[in-house]
């Protein structure tokens, strides 16, 4: 579908954690591409491996216990990040690829002024002097929509609200004009009204700076609003990918269908919510066969035996799904709506 050249290519990413009860295969063979200026959404429930995927790209996984297995590949503009020296990786972090996190309240250092935290990346990657960094930092605060940026610049994080802190996180992430912005549930911890503002801001800034956006969320509403393409993750694997349009209107995988069905309807007040039964199994022992089997309304015997491949649905290779019944289950599955 996309004609844009790929900027970030993740291939067969496997990130495992050694725990006391066994090896947690949090991310287990994930592949996707993000084109220049594209917005890719990664969606799934908590515990599906979305955040670990995001953290793996910048290698921010605490290690030990985490480990990105050999055979995984993360290409950024043709450069293999998993083989990059630590110093090279630090050049890329915050400069070429930036990240914002779920919890703005805890993602900023409580004992340092926000201005200082904005300046750091500017001075490190852009080599600005203290006064240059300050004026650039104040301009950034204004750009992300913070009123009285001069005054806020010298505030400590505890003086500011969650929405404002997330704007500051975005300002920090954008300070060096990255080519990829990874946003890990950037609106989850915020009030609904603030959520919309932050999403608008992200979309606006993406247009202005032409960066690629990797948006991680569990909220399909967010996906619908800003994403070009969607990757649906379950059990540390991708279960379905496609354009936002396709995923939202013609979901193929029962999990995607379940996610959509569990959304509150826009008009039908009388329709009860339809949650997917059960919870995500533990990454230490994913079920054999299809990992969604236990919760799937249309599971068959063969689903327990082997793992279905992520198969293209048609000629177009960007539309993939991991289900034995792919192609045979177009449209909502009975009992899931």
């Amino acid at each position: 579908m996309t004609t844009r050249p790929d900027l970030l290519v993740v291939t067969d990413l496997r990130t495992h954690f050694t725990t006391e009860v066994g090896v947690a295969r949090a991310v287990d063979g994930v592949s996707f591409q993000v084109g220049m200026g594209e917005t890719l959404g990664i969606v799934g429930e908590s515990g599906c491996g979305k955040t670990v995927t995001a953290l793996s790209i910048l290698q921010l996984i605490p290690s030990p216990p985490g480990e990105i297995l050999k055979g995984s590949s993360i290409l950024f503009d043709g450069e293999e990040l998993l083989k990059a020296a630590p110093a090279r990786l630090r050049e890329i972090r915050g400069n070429d690829i930036s990240m914002i996190f779920q919890e703005p309240m805890t993602s900023l250092n409580p004992v340092l002024k926000v201005g200082h935290q904005i300046e750091e990346a500017l001075r490190l990657h852009r080599g600005l002097s203290k006064s240059e960094a300050r004026s650039a930092g104040v301009a950034l605060l204004a750009e992300v929509g913070i009123s009285d940026p001069e005054e806020r610049y010298d505030c400590y994080p505890h003086h500011l609200s969650g929405g404002m802190l997330q704007r500051i996180m975005i300002a920090i992430a954008l300070s060096c004009e990255p080519r990829v912005l990874i946003a890990d549930e950037p609106t989850t911890a915020l009030d609904v009204t603030v959520q919309a503002q932050i999403l608008d801001l992200l979309a606006k800034l993406q247009d202005r700076h032409g960066m690629a956006l990797l948006l991680i969320t569990h909220d399909l509403g967010v996906i619908a609003e800003v994403c070009d393409r969607v990757v649906v993750m379950y059990g540390g694997q991708i279960v379905e990918t496609g354009t936002t349009q396709d995923i939202l209107t013609r979901p193929e995988h029962p999990y995607t269908q379940g996610l959509l069905a569990s959304l509150p309807g826009s008009g039908d007040r009388d329709v009860r919510l339809n949650p997917i039964p059960g919870t995500v199994p533990s990454p230490v022992n994913w079920p054999a066969g299809c990992r969604f089997r236990d919760r799937c309304p249309v599971a068959e015997e063969r689903c327990a035996e082997s793992v279905p491949e992520l198969l293209p649905l048609s000629e177009e290779t960007t539309r993939l799904a991991r289900c034995w019944r792919v192609g045979s289950i177009g449209g909502p599955v009975e009992g899931s709506t």
């Binding site: 953290l55 996190f101 919890e103």
Partner: protein, 327 residues
């Protein structure tokens, strides 16, 4: 901030008054007779009475208390029974030695403890971490006077016997020939004399501080904002020292106030072991001689130092953590 300090200082006045009262009655109600050391069984009752009058011990306790407090308000701690000098003079002479020893010890303890704690946290579960934990626990459980004796045995006596290049003096604050030394030699001599007592005091404290710092640091480096700092591309030393350490130090700073009483009771032993002419040794000697004014004066000075130390630790706390600044 300024009003906070002023308020705390005002609050300290009744506290010190209470402590002074407690000290007065505990010392004066303790069994034993301060005149006993001046007298023998053959002394006539008149002479005995005269000694008591001279020392002001003939008055009833409440009157002595009020007189003592009145003098205290004027900065007079009375005269020593055994030295025949004002207590204030004695304290003025010895306090600098104790301050030198305790500040060196607590400074050394915090530098050592914090550095070791950081190193242990950053290399958690490494060989270095386990060894440091074990050695730390060893020093933590050692009484400082025993540690002091062992250090004298090894670095002073042993070093002399085995002809080590450096031998540390085992007693006093300076050499007998100190007055004839050049300025550089004077500093050297002071440092040499300071090394063993300060180290034996500091090691015990440092072990505790290291354990605290390690735990606090481990807590901090798992926080989200550390991940943010790394995501910015900051180097590991910047992440650890600029982002993690200041947060990790917040609980460690409370230890300054908490450790001061330990430190001063430590100086009592250490000064005795090293014949260090300071407040600790003075108080111990005076207790043995029942020199009440000196015991009371010395203890009061220690108490005031603990109060001031806690105030300093509260102020430091606010300096490091902007969230609790009292403005």
């Amino acid at each position: 901030m300024r009003t906070f300090i002023a308020r705390r200082l005002l609050g300290a006045i009744p506290l010190v008054l209470g402590i002074a009262t407690l000290i007065f009655f505990v010392v004066n109600l303790a069994p034993g007779d301060p005149t006993a050391r001046f007298l023998n069984p053959n002394t006539s009752p008149e002479a005995q009475e005269q000694v008591r009058v001279n020392l002001g011990l003939d008055q009833p306790l409440p009157i002595r208390y009020v007189r003592w407090l009145g003098a205290l308000a004027k900065g007079d701690l009375g005269d020593s029974f055994s030295h025949n000098r004002p207590v204030v003079d004695i304290i003025q002479e010895l306090l600098p030695n104790t301050l030198l020893l305790s500040f060196s010890a607590i400074g050394l303890a915090f530098i050592l403890g914090i550095l070791l704690g950081i190193l242990q946290a950053v290399r958690q579960y490494s060989l270095l971490d386990s060894i440091a934990s074990m050695v730390g626990l060893f020093f933590y459980s050692m009484p400082s006077f025993w540690l002091a004796l062992m250090m004298v045995l090894l670095f002073s006596y042993g070093a002399n016997v085995w002809d080590w290049p450096i031998q540390f003096p085992a007693s006093d604050v300076q050499d007998i020939e100190y007055a004839f030394f050049s300025p550089v030699e004077k500093v050297q001599d002071r440092l040499m004399h300071l090394t063993l007592p300060a180290t034996s005091l500091a090691l015990v404290l440092a072990a505790g501080i290291a354990r605290f710092t390690r735990a606090s640091m481990l807590d901090v480096i798992r926080q989200d904002f550390i991940r943010t700092a790394r995501a910015k591309g900051l180097s590991e030393p910047v992440v650890i020292f600029r982002h993690a350490l200041r947060n990790a130090l917040i609980p460690v700073i409370t230890l300054v106030g908490l450790y001061l009483p330990f430190l001063f009771s430590g100086t009592v032993f250490i000064e005795t072991v090293f014949a260090w002419p300071g407040m600790g040794k003075l108080v111990v000697d005076s207790i043995l001689e029942r020199d009440y004014p000196v015991v009371m004066g010395g203890t009061l000075v220690f108490a005031v130092m603990v109060v001031v130390g806690n105030l300093v630790s509260d102020v430091l706390y606010a300096v490091v953590d902007p969230r609790i600044r009292h403005d």
